[in-house]
Symmetry: C2
Subunit: 171 residues, 2 copies
């Protein structure tokens, strides 16, 4: 098991243990890819390769329709929002783990736009904006603005923009 797989397992168990709603919704992580280390290696060997590589860190989650249905037999707006909220939160949490920094992550504000009905199990996707988390080690907060997209196969069904704040642990 890789470090990333262990972190993803810890993330999901943290959700289920501390947020009952996440377990009821059966939220799962489909994949977490992180190319930040690849970036460094590539730069050392061949700077030109940076242009062609998808040097991003991406988290993809999902949740089944059954516990998240509404009276139109599509995914409930509250479930869609919650899945996207936790996807963004999860990305900040994973990046903090990878950077070996700690902080209490809270959602300060968010906007969501529902674009199309969700008639089958969707995926929620977020890309990390390569933010510097080191201020947390100096006792300062970090603000992360993340965009999460919800897809049903090749249809974009919802877009979420959330402002997360990570607060240094009180000493």
């Amino acid at each position: 098991m890789t470090q990333h797989q262990r972190l993803v397992e810890e993330l999901v168990s943290t959700w289920y243990r501390t947020i009952p709603l996440s377990q009821f919704m059966q939220i799962e992580v489909l994949s977490f890819t992180d190319a930040s280390h690849l970036t460094v290696n590539t730069k050392q060997s061949n700077p030109d390769m940076n242009l062609s590589l998808p040097l991003v860190s991406e988290l993809i989650t999902t949740a089944p329709l059954a516990p998240n249905i509404n009276l139109h037999q599509t995914m409930f707006a509250g479930s869609i929002y919650t899945l996207m909220t936790l996807t963004g939160w999860g990305m900040v949490w994973l990046q903090q783990q990878l950077a070996s920094v700690t902080g209490d992550i809270v959602l300060a504000e968010a906007q969501v736009k529902y674009i199309a009905p969700v008639r089958q199990q969707p995926t929620a996707r977020v890309i990390w904006p390569a933010l510097d988390l080191s201020p947390l080690t100096r006792g300062r907060r970090v603000k992360a603005e993340l965009t999460v997209e919800l897809w049903c196969q090749d249809v974009l069904c919802a877009r979420f923009c959330g402002v997360y704040v990570s607060l240094p642990f009180a000493k």
Copy 2:
């Protein structure tokens, strides 16, 4: 039992029957007051009284902390949003019932701002903006922009602005 009490019971049973998340969250209606008929009567008897009466239609809901907790031991952002979403949806549904019109109510977009941690059972409150729902009877959609506030006693903890669209039933 008054007409309003019957409608509130039907609203909550509709939520629980069709949206599993609402039942898991234990969302309840605390009160629904509707002064729209009072407005008409008052105007007929004494127009000056309009200034002193709270001539509004207000829905107040709540949900306990236990199923809606997060890892900070406060109310989970997803639960806060969902409670406010359903409070706004419920208000549109109630107003449609009172106006004897029908329409499929969906949330098109929303903004939420988290102002303070929710450490005890909150109330979500929405006031109806006295919108004309009659276009639904002529086969036209109605757009309702609602603001829902979340309070813990006298502290405003979150504010939600949602754009709901009610679509006339297909014939």
